[in-house]
């Protein structure tokens, strides 16, 4: 089933449309936030001079989501943070997907020692928690985007390598691969035409649904203060600042500091999942529900 037909079929499903709307909204925010945000400079971390007067204001028309402990407009921070969120999620998944596809297909196609070694590597990297690597990188190189990307890619690639391996393993056993080998088609061409083309669709759909998880994990690393430095426009960092800079009492006094960044993480994740779920159903009929839900 080609992609255009796949999307056309799914446009009938309400949840797919909801997912598309949410994701488009977030992407729109990420691209145009400097023009949307009422205080773009504050969004990038600039502390206003008169911050004593402006700090911890509740949501109002002037400050849609209220202000934080340094007097910055929270809506601007979150809007600017959308681009960071998208960049992190997409980079992590894209890089992991590339490495994973390469490793998984090599393991399934070349068999023998390659398969053995790669399988051990996959298991090894699946066992390492991302946070340990993030901690190590934070301590040795300092904070930054690279901490988030590297620590997540080192664990996520193994996941894609494993899925790719499982899919490719069943494809490699198919008779058309044998036929192509007998005709003398080169390995690269066989991999491209007979293996990759058959597995790219389910894996891409898997990747779309993983974008949400990647965002969650990236936010978690930032929330713990391991990734991006304080002041950086990122939802995880905003949460971190909101919680660490306030005592519990103050936290109850200013709940918007936690609710709004959390909400944005949630709906972005939901958006990706709502897009991927119906697509996956189409590719794998076993997942199809017998009885339709309300959407």
């Amino acid at each position: 089933m080609d992609l255009s037909r796949l999307i056309q079929r799914n446009l009938k499903k309400t949840r797919f449309i909801i997912g598309v709307v949410i994701t488009t909204f977030i992407l729109f925010l990420a691209l145009f936030s400097p023009w949307i945000a009422p205080y773009p400079r504050e969004g990038y971390g600039y502390v206003p001079l008169e911050y004593e007067n402006r700090k911890l204001q509740p949501p109002s028309l002037n400050h849609l989501f209220g202000t934080d402990v340094l007097g910055r407009d929270l809506f601007s921070r979150i809007a600017i943070g959308a681009s960071t969120a998208i960049i992190q999620a997409f980079t992590v998944i894209f890089l992991s997907l590339l490495i994973g596809l390469f490793a998984g297909i090599s393991a399934a196609y070349f068999k023998g020692v390659v398969e053995l070694v790669l399988n051990y590597l996959i298991e090894l990297f699946m066992a390492i928690p991302a946070i340990v690597i993030a901690l190590f990188l934070r301590l040795s190189t300092g904070p930054g985007l690279h901490v988030v990307i590297i620590s997540l890619v080192t664990t996520w690639w193994a996941w894609y390598a494993r899925i790719t391996y499982v899919y490719a393993k069943s494809i490699v056993e198919m008779d058309y691969v044998v036929l192509a080998k007998l005709s003398g088609l080169s390995d690269l061409k066989i991999i491209e035409r007979h293996v990759l083309r058959n597995i790219i669709q389910p894996i891409t759909v898997q990747a779309i649904s993983d974008l949400g998880s990647a965002l969650l994990e990236a936010s978690a690393i930032n929330f713990m203060g391991l990734g991006l430095p304080p002041g950086h426009p990122d939802w995880g960092v905003i949460l971190y600042e909101g919680i660490t800079s306030l005592s519990l009492e103050a936290f109850i006094r200013a709940p918007w500091l936690v609710v709004f960044p959390g909400l944005f993480i949630l709906i972005t994740t939901l958006g990706f999942t709502l897009i991927a779920d119906p697509l996956r159903e189409d590719l794998d009929p076993r997942l199809r529900r017998r009885w339709r839900l309300w959407f």
């Binding site: 053995l116 051990y120 198919m174 008779d175 058309y176 044998v178 036929l179 192509a180 080998k181 007998l182 005709s183 003398g184 088609l185 035409r193 007979h194 083309r197 058959n198």
Partner: protein, 274 residues
């Protein structure tokens, strides 16, 4: 007998069973034992065997996919497992192979014409020439012209088999290897395919090897049969001789089971112990 096209000399083959990564002793599960036979040019041979007889393994050995443990496989007088890769590829290109299961043998994402034209693409023919030849072959095997732009998912089992046959004969092979060519098909389609294969033989006179479990099918596609049981050749000879004068016990039960299921009407006292 004219020139020997394929010759197997005392071939013993099997699969390595690797248990764990560090196992030093690799067990070998021997499937074929001491197989020797040869096929002349334009000869039609059927290899008959039931499940577990090793016929699939034998095919793999002939097709250059499985190196035998002992013995040699000669194609046109060259041992295909002891010559450089390029030379082997060149020799193996003379084989047209029709695999067993038409539902597992066609890449679902490719167009039918790409699938059929693949062997020519490998040789490096130009596009127009391939296209022309694909149309020609498709017409020969009875594939409707409109099917060429479809993906295999839209085709029935019989049509899929025609696609596979077209792919096998597009590069004018000198050897045609058929693995259970009709076992996945309905009887009316089976007859069409058998007629098509006979038509191919009378037109191009390739050397034909058919692997099947069905003696009745073999009689349409072969002059000589080899009966395989548990990895050994139990009987070999002209089809009629084997049919009417079977020597080995196993061949006798095989032949009698056919006579029983096809012509006899009574069943009294027949209780074959399995």
């Amino acid at each position: 007998m004219s020139e020997e096209v394929i010759k197997l000399e005392r071939v013993t083959a099997g699969y390595k069973v690797v248990k764990g990564a560090l196992s030093i002793w690799k067990q070998v599960n021997v499937v074929l034992r001491d197989i020797s036979f040869s096929i002349g040019k334009s000869e039609r041979l059927a290899i008959i065997g039931e499940s577990g007889s090793g016929k699939t393994t034998l095919l793999k050995v002939i097709l250059g996919l499985l190196k035998p443990i002992k013995g040699s496989v000669l194609l046109y007088g060259r041992d295909i497992y002891r010559i450089p890769d390029e030379e082997r590829e060149k020799i193996l290109r003379k084989i047209g192979y029709v695999p067993q299961d038409p539902y597992r043998s066609l890449n679902p994402v490719l167009k039918v014409k790409t699938i059929i034209g693949e062997p020519l693409e490998v040789i490096g023919e130009n596009k127009e020439k391939i296209e022309k030849r694909v149309v020609e072959v498709a017409r020969f095997v009875g594939l409707p012209w409109s099917a060429l732009d479809d993906t295999p998912e839209e085709l029935s089992g019989g049509m899929r088999q025609r696609v596979l046959i077209a792919r096998a004969i597009i590069a004018n092979p000198e050897i045609l290897v058929l693995d259970e060519p009709t076992s996945a098909l309905d009887v009316s389609i089976q007859a069409q395919i058998l007629n098509l294969l006979n038509n191919i033989y009378s037109n191009f006179k390739p050397t034909m090897i058919t692997v099947t479990h069905d003696l009745a099918v073999a009689q349409y596609l072969a002059d000589r049969v080899i009966i395989l049981k548990d990895g050994c050749i139990v009987e070999e000879g002209k089809l009629e001789e084997v049919l009417y004068n079977p020597r080995h016990e196993y061949t006798k039960t095989l032949v009698s089971s056919y006579l029983y299921t096809t012509t006899t009407n009574s069943v009294s006292g027949f209780n074959n112990k399995s």
